[in-house]
Amino acid sequence: MTIAEAIDVSRSYGAVRAVDRVSMRVEAGDTVALLGPNGAGKTTLINLLTGIRRPGSGRVTMCGGDPRDPRSRRWLGVTPQETGLPETLRVREVVAFVAAHFPDPVPTGELLDRFGLGDVAGRQAGGLSGGQKRRLAVALAFVGRPRIVVLDEPTTGLDVQARRSLWDGIRAFHDEGGTVLLSSHNLEEAEALARRVVVLGGGRVLTDDVVGTVRDMIGTRRVSLTVADLPGDLPTVVSRERVDGRTHLLTTDADALVRVLVQRRVGFTDLEVRPASLEEAFLALTNAPAG
């Protein structure tokens, strides 16, 4: 059963096409990550799916209806990307305010304990630490016992421990049958939480596949070396550039590449291998010939 869907959706801001003819579907019970660098269109797509913005063309559905209709949002829980809680309200008031919109909300105390916020229930939201604000924002998505939660970069700005505990909470929700759609620019987060990954770049869907396939595709390494003369037909290399006498190669298999360099007796020095950033991987993916 499809719980959320975008059908050939576009949305522009002025001259910029933030989302460009995107089609994607979230099945009930699935966990889907929208992955892409900043400006890829993740937040815009989420805003369209949650009813915050209206598509310029195409159609979106949420729980079987138009997300701009309040009834379609009855089973939807959302975490905003930016932390913008009403500063003067106390934590428990913020939760109670959101809970008032749902027929059978999770009791405030129980929810706050689940997200480790029980101790700060009486504090004003403006006085929370960055991590606490982020956790409260994520907790708000779960107040109404939703069937689907949409989390826009849920763990941005959290330390490792807080991130892991939030991941556990999101996994527990999925284990009970909940659907998760999250955005991230972090491959590790997508691997930890999602079964399926939709890669966005420049407002378009670049790839839509299970997480393992996408990881192999964009889990690239950057091999840097100083070399006078490099053969043109190196295997596994998706891009190459030369900056200040250093050559940088993006490769899907650094081991195989280095083996070939050695076998062919390429005279390199200062070899350096490190994981490529997601941005670099996306560049390689978008520049790679189609097919």
């Binding site: 801001y13 309040p70 009834r71 949002r73 905003p80 932390t83 708000l140």
Partner: protein, 245 residues
Amino acid sequence: MSLTLVHARYQLLETLRIPIAVIGTTFFPAVSMLFFVVPFAGDDPVSATYATASMVTFAVMISNLFQYGVGVSEDRARPWDPYMRTLPVGPGPRLAGRTIAGLAMMVLSLLPVLLIAALFTTATVSPAGLVAALGALLVVAVPFTLMGMTIGYALPSKAALAVTQIIFLPLAFGGGLLSAPGDAPRFVEIVAPFLPTRGAVELMWTAVGDFRPDPTALVSLGVWTVTLGALAAWTYRRDEGRRFS
């Protein structure tokens, strides 16, 4: 209905937690009362009553223009506002809740005006006049609420603040709020009937005294109200939070 009250309650809670904001709304009408009414009309019951009614109208206008014009536009700039659009609630309860909170804050801003009128002037009002004035107050609040909402939903917060500050004084002066009935400068008497402030203040004068309102001013108040209602609805619907281009 219950969601309306929830939105009203939290809106008020947010505002009241910042005491200076409360003082801000009550300050202007109270000071105007002290500067423009007490020294000039304090001893004459009729003119003191009319002048107090004018200041009440002034307070209603300022309170609603600033609350909605500046308040709505500031709210739209915060990420909390788009988040609220993802909750299963339509625009009705949100707008109604905001309006109830706005009325409560408006009443708060009127208290100093009425207190000063009672203590330092000879303004009087009969019980029937007071009831009529309360009714007029509710009618008069509507166009200024809608005007504020139109500004708030149409403009970013800095522009909304500027526009509100620019229009409120001409509206007050041009509508004859700062002069006694029939005593305004000539050009004011000419433009006044076509400003919403004139119809508003004439309703208040009629409620508290022996005043016959000008039909033109009342009709134009109605036209303003309907037009601003349509504009507010239109700007609300096309709004998607703050825009960047």
